[in-house]
Amino acid sequence: MTSSTASRRTGVILVILVILVATSGFLQTGSSELLARAPERSEQFVQETAPAFLKKHCLSCHSGKSAKGMTRLDDLLASDWADRHGTWTKVIEQVESRSMPPADKTQPAAEEVDRFLTELQPALKQRLLASTRVPPPTPLRRLNRVQYRNVIRDLLGVDYDPTTHLPADEIGYGFDNIGEHLTISPILMEQYLRMAKEIAAAVIITDPDDAAPVVAKLEWPLARVRGPNDDTFGLEFTGKKLPWAPPGGKFLAHTFEIPDDDEYVIKVQALGENIGSKPLQLAVDIGGTEAFRVPVASSSLTWTKVRLRLPKGKAEFTFRPIPEPVPKGEKAPKRGPILLERVLIARPSQTSDSTYPEPHRRVVVARPSKTRSVREAAEAIFEPLATRAYRRPATREQVARLVAIVEKAHSGGQSFDQGVQLALQAMLCSPNFLFIVEAERGKGGPRPVDEFELANRLSFFLWNTMPDKELFDAARAGRLRKELDRHVDRMIGDARFEEFCRSFTHQWLKFARLKEFRPDPKNKRYADFEQVRDSAVRETELFFATVLRKDLPLTTLIDADFSLVNESLARFYGLPKVPDDAGFQRVEVKGRGGLLTHASVLAATSYPTRTSPVVRGAWILENLLNAPPPPPPPDVPNLDSSNEAASKSKLSLRQQLEKHRSNARCAVCHNRIDPLGFALEGFDIIGKVRKVDDSGHPVDATAVLPSGEKVQGVEGLKKILVGPRKEQFLSCLTEKMMIYALGRGPDPADVRAIQAIVDALARNKDRSRGLIRGIIASPAFNNR
């Protein structure tokens, strides 16, 4: 499935509500009011309206096993409506668009259709809540790019950026961690093999000399050595220029302090330019006597290692390029310069286990010895390592397979560490590592996930990475479920929780759009946006994290009276000064607070030259109310792309949009979309408060909703979102977070869980932690 199709499939449940909202008018009836009278209305629909309508207009074709279009409706009312959710959606689409019954059949009267659809909404919701449908399990998930990086970091202690090897993950239902989309292909497999090799090579040191403690060093950018016959460049040395040296004159030199009489490994990394086909020789003189030579090739960095005895005290190194032999009568070719990247002096006699880098030591916890065979040492390494890497106790067979790789390499003449490196490489390509594995669902239906599966679900939800030691220990002791609340609180307080805040807010609020957003460079007003682009996104992440960590009501996301800004953002927003070095500070804000006022959100919903009430309105419908408007029909002229029309016609944007809405076909959707966007007209394309709009007219941020309610600017909009539409907003947020937490698309069976969470929230002042707890406690999260 392409990502565009996938992203359109958001909110299975609410697709139906969208259509109904469109028919009945946005914001006309609060859903709780509807639900209060739901049971009797629902009963009326099921007993009278629906059977009559279906019988009269549908069943003559859509009955029995040979029903037309494979759509059988005669058993619809008696089935579990959640299981037949797809059929209901189809029925609504067909009836609402008047596509069914077909034109050559008797058409239902308008009031008949209206009644059918109006009564269907509460009935459907009521039946979904009463359904006994079992939520489907999450499909096997591959680690996405971000998770791969995080897991490598937590497992091995190295930061490895996979983005140059791995393509961006496919997005499904708005998120990048959806099992159904996280598949694998030969190209990906090739990349995993390649990355595993690079990572294993970075972690495991196979040459003991590389673990010798470095006693003296010089590092890039340090020096350019003039090549023979090269009059192009002079000498430079650690930034300080040396006098121009004629051939045979002064060469690059450096004095190292040698701590003791001993044998040392000297490692030189150099690169040459304009070298020709043979490496150039760079002689290294120590104390005036040639000690060794470094072959220097064009543009390829290689280490030259030599072992030498050096006396204690000062050692002067001189780097002297050797001219190539030139046949008689020919002119010497010009060579160089040579770029000396690094010179390291290490002392192997002092090498011990503790001089190996931390990642190496973390893995190689045992080596073969007189009392320990290769197999035993490898087992001592891979039993705990594979357990952490596979994120559940490694089986005997799994450990044995890894140990066999070490043994085979060792018997083939490689060192123990080389064998470990190879086995590590293999382990990182195992499906047990690359996938978040959960065992089969029980025979009789869902089973509770085991403690390790639960640990994984929790850590990938709240941290976007593997479980830590405490989660593992609790799972191993079988205590995790019992101590769940304590662990959840601990996890929310942990720094890794910001991984969740970043990943979730970026995707929920569609910040991907912000990456492409470039305000018109000709407009000076927007010049300071570039400086706060990243800070603005950070503001939203931190704001979201604060609401959850402080357990504030979720409505705070809409109507907060504070935000978190740094020095440049405070200046950008015109807030009181925040000290330059203070980082992000919590500040009280008046007239600016909540997601709808964040520069990140406002910019992500704008065009480079002007604001778009349509984009902003649709954004609110989709992301805050879970009621995405359908895409515009293909034959409609795109008002938003032609700014010229506005200037030519001298109409304000509002007037243009009003004109657009005078067309009934457009009005169906735009009556819902545009007013929400107009309420935000007080903010320009980069989120600054403004008095004059993009077409030069005074800002008019009033709007009239289809229900007739008047909205005064952003404050008015916020009041509606936390007032009559609060439940819809909370259901929307709950559904989005459930998708993220479960790694699968929404299912009709989730309606029950979502309603339960929203109800529980209402009983507890909408405190935000209740949302996370509620999701974790839901059957879908707990069972497989």
Binding site: L188, M189, Q191, I405, C429, L434, E530
Partner: protein, 445 residues
């Protein structure tokens, strides 16, 4: 103690090792299971530099918009008419800042890819900025065998042709690794070939054996996993196994029959150190660039068709005067014609490069489909060395979003840095700005 011993490399070894380098990803054998779920090959970027500007009346298309009638200099690009755009009014205003008025070439070439004013100096304290190709090399070059290739077809003689008051580095290279490190250019096809392929074969047998043991291991792991997961998940494990098998098949195929790079490159023995013939030299360098891209040995490279202020003559097209000489054409019709002829000749090699990229398959696509290739000069008119309307072409499809085939006329003095910013973006490197850029160049996608 002499640890420097040059290991002679036989031609056979060269071919074999080149075969190994071809066994890296992005080959035809590696078809994805489903086209829409695999990552695209990386975006490759090439910069081709023409010295001494162009005779602009025969360069700039008459009409704006879709390219139809090509001006004389661009005529050899006819077969590619839908695949490149002429970008008019791109400027490198940094070149105007500082420097003796008499110098016309070094200020331009010295900041062509850096968009930073070059310091006026004859000494070793040269300074410009990091060039756009080197930004790419830093970002992408760690993943490839070589970070980048900097090629030229003219020897940097450094005698007489360098510009007034400016060090020769400014006119003999356009690539700057750091603001103070100009990169000398490789002019020897032989040397380039060795750099590309000489050391690849060394660890080959070990590699194959190791890869085998890893593939055996992961296959066993996956088989075991199949037993543990449910039916739907089993399909995904199957997909994983199929990917493993696919890679195994490729390893076996290479062992049986190692592919070699374009044999014509080495069919007549080792490549020449420096060919005397300009056309042969240039084509060889282009072939090497294409092989280097196809084997994923580099993802960025640049080729100079000459040093700036080059005095090369082109007897093969009946231009016996020096290039620089005829570039100062004044009102002389003969000079204008010769200047035009050299420009058209240079562009024909650009056309050859595009041909080669299009004819190099990469899975279902061609290398061209994942490349962006820029041609440009660091001055506009040879007569008065202007930097505010440079001859610039862009070809290729970049990351797939480039929409070319137009003559785009930008507002006067639009920074060429904007083009570089857009090219960086195409290659997946996001920077807030480059040089004097004001934002990525529009109308390319």
């Amino acid at each position: 103690m002499n640890i420097l011993h040059h290991r002679p490399i036989s031609r056979r070894a060269l071919l074999r090792s080149a075969g190994v380098s071809l066994a890296l990803p992005w080959l035809e054998a590696m078809q994805p299971l489903r086209a829409d779920q695999s990552g695209p090959p990386p975006v490759r970027t090439l910069f081709v530099y023409g010295p001494n500007g162009m005779y602009m009346p025969n360069w700039t298309p008459a009409a704006e918009g879709r390219l139809e009638k090509l001006p004389e200099i661009l005529r050899s690009l006819k077969p590619h008419i839908a695949d490149f755009s002429v970008l008019t009014h791109l400027a490198n205003m940094e070149a105007y800042r500082g420097g003796p008025k008499r110098a016309g070439h070094a200020p331009g070439s010295g900041c062509f890819l850096t968009c930073s004013t070059p310091r006026v100096t004859l000494g070793s304290d040269v300074r410009s900025g990091i060039s756009v190709d080197q930004v790419l090399a830093r970002e992408l070059g760690t993943r490839t065998r070589l970070p980048s290739l900097e090629l030229s077809v003219e020897t940097p003689t450094g005698t007489g042709t360098c510009d007034v008051g400016y060090h020769c580095a400014y006119t003999t290279t356009i690539s700057w690794r750091t603001p103070t490190t100009p990169l000398s250019r490789d002019i020897s096809p032989c040397s380039v070939f060795e750099r590309l392929f000489a050391d690849a074969g060394a660890a080959r047998e070990d590699e194959v054996r190791q890869r085998r043991s890893i593939l055996d291991f992961v296959r066993a792991e996956a088989r075991e996993l199949t037993q543990r997961v449910g039916a739907a998940d089993r399909l995904k494990v199957e997909q994983y196994l199929e990917s493993v098998r696919e890679i195994e098949r490729r390893v076996q195929a290479y062992e049986r029959n190692p592919p070699v790079p374009d044999r014509s490159l080495t069919a007549n023995g080792p490549l020449p150190i420096v060919p005397a013939d300009f056309a042969e030299h240039t084509r060889l360098m282009i072939d090497l660039l294409v092989v280097a891209l196809a084997t994923d040995s580099i993802r960025v490279g640049s080729l100079m068709l000459g040093n700036d202020a080059s005095q090369r003559s082109y007897p093969e097209i009946n231009v016996r005067n020096g290039h620089h000489e005829v570039s100062h054409y004044g009102a002389d019709k003969t000079r204008q014609d010769k200047y035009t002829a050299i420009g058209a000749y240079h562009i024909s090699f650009f056309a050859y490069l595009l041909d080669r990229l299009k004819n190099t398959r990469e899975g279902e696509h061609s290398l061209f489909d994942r490349s962006q290739v820029m041609f440009g000069c660091s001055i506009g008119r040879g007569n008065d060395h202007n930097y505010d309307d440079l001859p610039v072409l862009l070809a290729g499809r970049g990351n797939g979003s480039l929409r070319l085939g137009f003559h785009r006329v930008y507002p006067a003095e639009t920074p060429i840095a904007n083009l570089y910013l857009a090219m960086l973006e195409q290659a997946g490197v996001r920077m807030p700005r480059f040089g004097d850029s004001t934002g990525p160049l529009r109308q390319l996608t």
